[in-house]
Amino acid sequence: MAPTRHPAKPLNMTLAEADMRHGTGQEEPAAGGFLSLQGLGKRYQGFTAVHHLYLDVPRGELVALLGPSGCGKTTTLRMIAGLTPVSGGRVLVGGRDMTSEPPYRRDMGLVFQSYALFPHMTVERNVAFGLEMRRIGRAEVAERVKEAVAMVRLQGLEKRRPRELSGGQQQRVALARALVIQPSILLFDEPLSNLDAKLRDEMRTEIRDIQQRLGITAVFVTHDQAEALAMCDKVAVMNAGRLEQLGTPTELYERPANPFVASFVGRINRLPAMAMGTKAKVGERELRLTQPMEGNIEVMVRPHRIQLEPAGSAATESTNRVQGEIRRTTYVGDLIQYVVHVDGLNWSVEQPTSASATLSPIGAKVDLSWRVEDTLAFKSAG
């Protein structure tokens, strides 16, 4: 028998039903998430793709996996789904060790980065496949396939083969095929990469909606930061096979754990400095830090947290300021982007249009000021 942990339910079941089905979480073990990766690792000959990964995803949460290309996101998803054998560590689901379970007993849906549609089946048969494996009655299969096809806006294309579809249409079939089985865990590998902006927005909403309504626990791999920050409960940032930080979008943005996260999530300006306690020296100027540090550090500030003021404005206790010279201005509608030369480095500064009715001219000397709380500081590498 195929796994049928969940009774077949139409996609549009009510919130109350969904609650009953997945409970409110009391039956879960106190520690750890519903999906828990414990020291997961993958070694290929002489190359470690994933290092000791610890990640807990509470039941019903959507966690984004964000990271540069080749950092091990797909490998991680494949290990969770049981398609790639792990080199070390465990995969727990609801406290149960799944590490050695075959993929077909894990009740997980995976949307492949390369879609992996069945080329010999029509759209309809592709979507129905998972339901048929679960021995669901014909009438209900037809019903649920119809809903899923409508959800990804593919009505009218049910009888086509994958090769008769555009890339984005294929991607939506892959999405429907994984969503229609309503697994307890959904794994998305860049599921929206091939869609246009409007469709992508719609699909985000649909995915988020289904995921929340059915209380599905999900991991969502994406390159798109805006997507990760906007639609996920938490974001895990990976780099070179390691988890750099797991946190809510705000935590990641406001309190990045290290320079990699700070510069990977959102844009940021950097300035090398010398720290002595809560003060840091940049040339002759002094900056205040939020925490005492010593030695060579890097000060980082987000572009839109900086105020541009005429040179020589009075400093206050609660702000940091540096001097610079405007090199370039770009007007992009709701804000103006400046490139400001600061101590030999180009900083970018963003100002809302209303605040600076007049564009500061190129070559003008300006003061850049920002609140002490907005000052991020990290020990310099090496």
């Binding site: 195929a2 398609l83 492949f112 390369s114 069945f118 080329p119 010999h120 496949f129 494996m133 994984a178």
Partner: protein
């Protein structure tokens, strides 16, 4: 107008490029076949001569003589059996080869192809040594107290065993050529959707490899029907098939018209299997 000129020129080029192969085919394939056809309507003269008069005699003998009809039936059924067994033995090997990579794959491919480098005659005599009453298998089984109540060679059994092995390389290569559409991700997708490996095989792997299976089966069937050395040696002259009969008529009895008639019959069988093959391919798509 210029476009039309272009088109004419391109067509001209195509014809020029195709001409050599067309000429070769007409010369070495079409002409002999037509020749065979006309021979099949001539009278056989003693001593290998061919008469000049038109006659239906060869064809009416063929249709009326139970011996030939049985040989035809035997040939076709035996070849079908051999094709099926070859497929059964080759499919797992081909699938494994398709999934392996690097030097290991190269090594295995060489192993698969290497039998083709030795003559089928040599390999057939090898099988005689293995299957004979005093051969490896019977002897070996007797050592552990098992006596097979039937012979393994000089009968149909021997022919089937020998041809199956001899045709395996062709089958494996044809299967591999046809496995192009088989993306391992598809199988993985089936597994994540809840299919057990056996279900994934039936619903995904097998349909995707069907074109390769069809190609391999066509190739092996044709080769099995037309093989005569192996059936002659391993059949010990007791297994009467179309191909061996053609050989006997042409080389031993020197009855060329009879041999020609049987050859045309074999060609008809091939034509039918080709039609079946194209039908199957269309059905897969």
């Amino acid at each position: 107008m210029a476009q039309q000129g272009d088109e004419t020129r391109r067509n001209g080029l195509a014809i020029a490029l195709l001409l050599p192969i067309v000429l070769v085919n007409v010369g070495v394939f079409l002409y002999p076949v037509l020749n065979l056809l006309s021979t099949s309507f001539k009278e056989a003269l003693p001593g290998g001569g061919i008469g000049t008069e038109f006659t239906w005699a060869n064809w009416s003998t063929l249709v009326q003589d139970r011996f030939y009809m049985e040989a035809l039936l035997r040939s076709v059924l035996m070849s079908l059996l051999i094709t099926f067994l070859t497929l059964l033995c080759s499919y797992p090997i081909a699938l494994y080869l398709h999934r392996s990579s690097g030097q290991w794959r190269t090594f295995l491919l060489v192993l698969v192809v290497s039998p083709l480098l030795t003559s089928a005659v040599v390999r057939t005599y090898g099988w005689v040594a293995v299957l004979a009453d005093t051969g490896l298998i019977k002897n070996g089984l007797e050592q552990i107290g098992i006596t097979l109540p039937f012979r393994l060679v000089y009968n149909m059994t021997g022919v089937v065993i020998g041809l199956t092995e001899i045709l395996m390389p062709y089958m494996i290569l044809a299967l591999l050529a046809g496995f192009g559409r088989l993306d391992p991700r598809c199988e993985e997708a089936a597994l994540t959707l809840g299919a057990r490996p056996i279900q994934a095989f039936w619903r995904v792997v097998l349909p995707l490899t069907a074109p390769g299976i069809a190609l391999g089966c066509l190739l092996c069937f044709v080769l099995a029907v037309s093989s005569f050395i192996t059936p002659r040696i391993l059949g010990g002259g007791r297994v009467f098939l179309l191909a061996t009969e053609i050989y006997d008529q042409a080389i031993v009895t020197l009855n060329w018209p009879a041999a020609g008639t049987l050859s045309i019959l074999v060609l008809v069988v091939f034509g039918l299997s080709l039609i079946l093959y194209t039908r199957a391919l269309r059905a897969f798509d």
